[in-house]
């Protein structure tokens, strides 16, 4: 019995080419088609997609094969919208992109969580505008009170959406806020709700939620990649390789993650300082945006360098302890 395995397709290739070059027997051919059902409907296999070579000693699908099939299906579905060029780029630069996603996202995530706070602020103001209109409609406010309250909220919203503050809100740049929100007092009296209000709030909320998850994604990717390397080394059955992998991966994480954080801070400081000198931004949002680029670059540099330092440091420590 041979164990099933999967490999990543490097370039655009037809499935029949793989069928012919990998297999010989009739049973193996049937099994190959069965385990690669996710590719059957396509003329060509895209770069980055998984190709499974099954266990040819049985026609039934084993648990391991089913697990590989699920992974392969996930990859194909994820890459469904990609064209050949972008799929090829992903496959060729997988390690580099993974590095950016892991450490860059620690910096981007923390910086963009500030953006998420800003977007939540916009959402709160929109909610207050809605409440003000409703209170006026219910007769809680006199016309003067309503106009004063609305003026104050529109001024707040105007400040929040100035310049790049509009990014992620999905609100168009119109001459007036009333036009931008699609509201007029008369129409509101008739319909009772701000047109597009729900749509805007939903959109802003989605962007804010996705952005604030960035840091956790970065940390989870790094921990996940480390755990995978350890499992891979330990599954070969060599105790020495397994212990070494535990040492090295722990070292990479213990040094890489703190340095990614520290690098993000130093990068953000350098970028913010540079922004002040070059452009002299005012306050709040501009300051947060200046930190994004610097934070991401610093975190990526710190994390990548720290990971390398941790890897080699831990490997040498392992050798030292192993020699004793």
């Amino acid at each position: 019995m041979s164990a099933p395995y999967a490999f990543i397709n490097a370039g655009k290739q037809s499935l029949s080419w793989y069928r012919e070059s990998l297999l010989v027997g009739g049973t193996a051919r049937v099994k190959f088609d069965r385990v690669n059902a996710h590719l059957r409907t396509r003329l060509a296999v895209m770069p980055g997609e998984l190709i499974i070579v099954g266990d040819d000693s049985t026609t039934m699908c084993t648990m391991e094969e089913q697990m590989l099939m699920a992974y392969a299906r996930d990859v194909s579905q994820t890459m469904f919208a990609s064209n050949e060029a972008s799929a090829h780029l992903q496959t060729e630069n997988y390690d580099f992109l993974q590095g950016i996603m892991t450490y860059g996202s620690i910096g981007v995530g923390s910086a963009t969580s500030a953006w998420s706070t800003h977007l939540n602020g916009v959402q709160d103001t929109l909610s207050s505008v809605n409440t003000t209109y409703q209170q006026w409609r219910n007769g809680t406010f006199t016309k003067d009170q309503f106009v004063a309250q609305r003026k104050m909220l529109f001024r707040t919203l105007d400040g929040q959406l100035r310049g790049i503050g509009r990014w992620g809100t999905g609100l168009k740049n119109n001459s007036s806020i009333k036009k931008m929100l699609g509201i007029s007092s008369k129409r509101f009296t008739r319909t009772g709700e701000i047109p597009d209000y729900v749509k805007n709030v939903k959109r802003i909320n989605n962007v804010a939620r996705n952005l604030s998850a960035g840091t956790m994604v970065g940390v989870a990717l790094d921990v996940g990649a480390g755990a995978f390397e350890i499992r891979e080394a330990c599954s070969t059955g060599r105790e020495q390789a397994c212990t070494r992998a535990k040492f090295v991966e722990a070292g990479k994480m213990m040094v890489g993650l703190p340095l990614a954080g520290k690098g993000g801070g130093l990068g953000a400081k350098a970028a913010t300082s540079l922004c002040f000198r070059m452009a002299g931004p005012t306050r709040g949002v501009s300051l947060a945006v200046c930190g994004i680029a610097g934070g991401a670059a610093g975190a990526w540099a710190g994390g990548t360098g720290g990971s390398k330092l941790g890897e080699l440091g831990a490997a040498w420590l392992y050798e030292l302890t192993g020699d004793e």
Partner: protein, 123 residues
């Protein structure tokens, strides 16, 4: 320089990074609130606190960046009306040390570690 010396530098750099993380936690949770309290009228600190107040541990890093900028780029920020000079001058020396020295040590240690890796041909 011998290889074992350079390897030693790499290991020291790793140890500094790990200890630095512990120091970072202390600075972010014990020193930062005190410094922010003393810089209560500096717009750069107020804005950073407002933006990153609910962003947990990593958000504190950016608040610390704002305090660090207020202490190290005071003249520049003052010219743009982003700091209150009196408040910055009143910051005690021990708080300044906690905020500025760990970052400098981390940066120097990282550069030394990377230089050692480069000299060993492992970069």
């Amino acid at each position: 320089m011998s290889d074992s010396f350079l390897q030693g530098l790499v290991i020291v750099s790793c140890v500094v990074a790990i200890i630095g993380f512990g120091v970072d936690v202390y600075v972010k949770y014990r020193v930062l609130p005190s410094a922010e309290e003393l810089l209560a009228n500096c717009p750069v600190v107020i804005d950073a606190k407002k933006s990153w107040d609910h962003s947990g541990f990593i958000g504190r890093r950016y608040r610390l960046v704002a305090v660090n900028l207020a202490l190290t780029s005071t003249e520049l920020l003052h010219s743009q009306g982003l700091v209150n000079m009196d408040e910055v001058q009143r910051i005690p020396i021990n708080l300044r040390r906690w905020i500025c020295i760990p970052d400098t040590i981390a940066l120097v240690s990282f550069i030394v570690g990377m230089a050692a890796l480069a000299l060993l041909g492992k970069l």
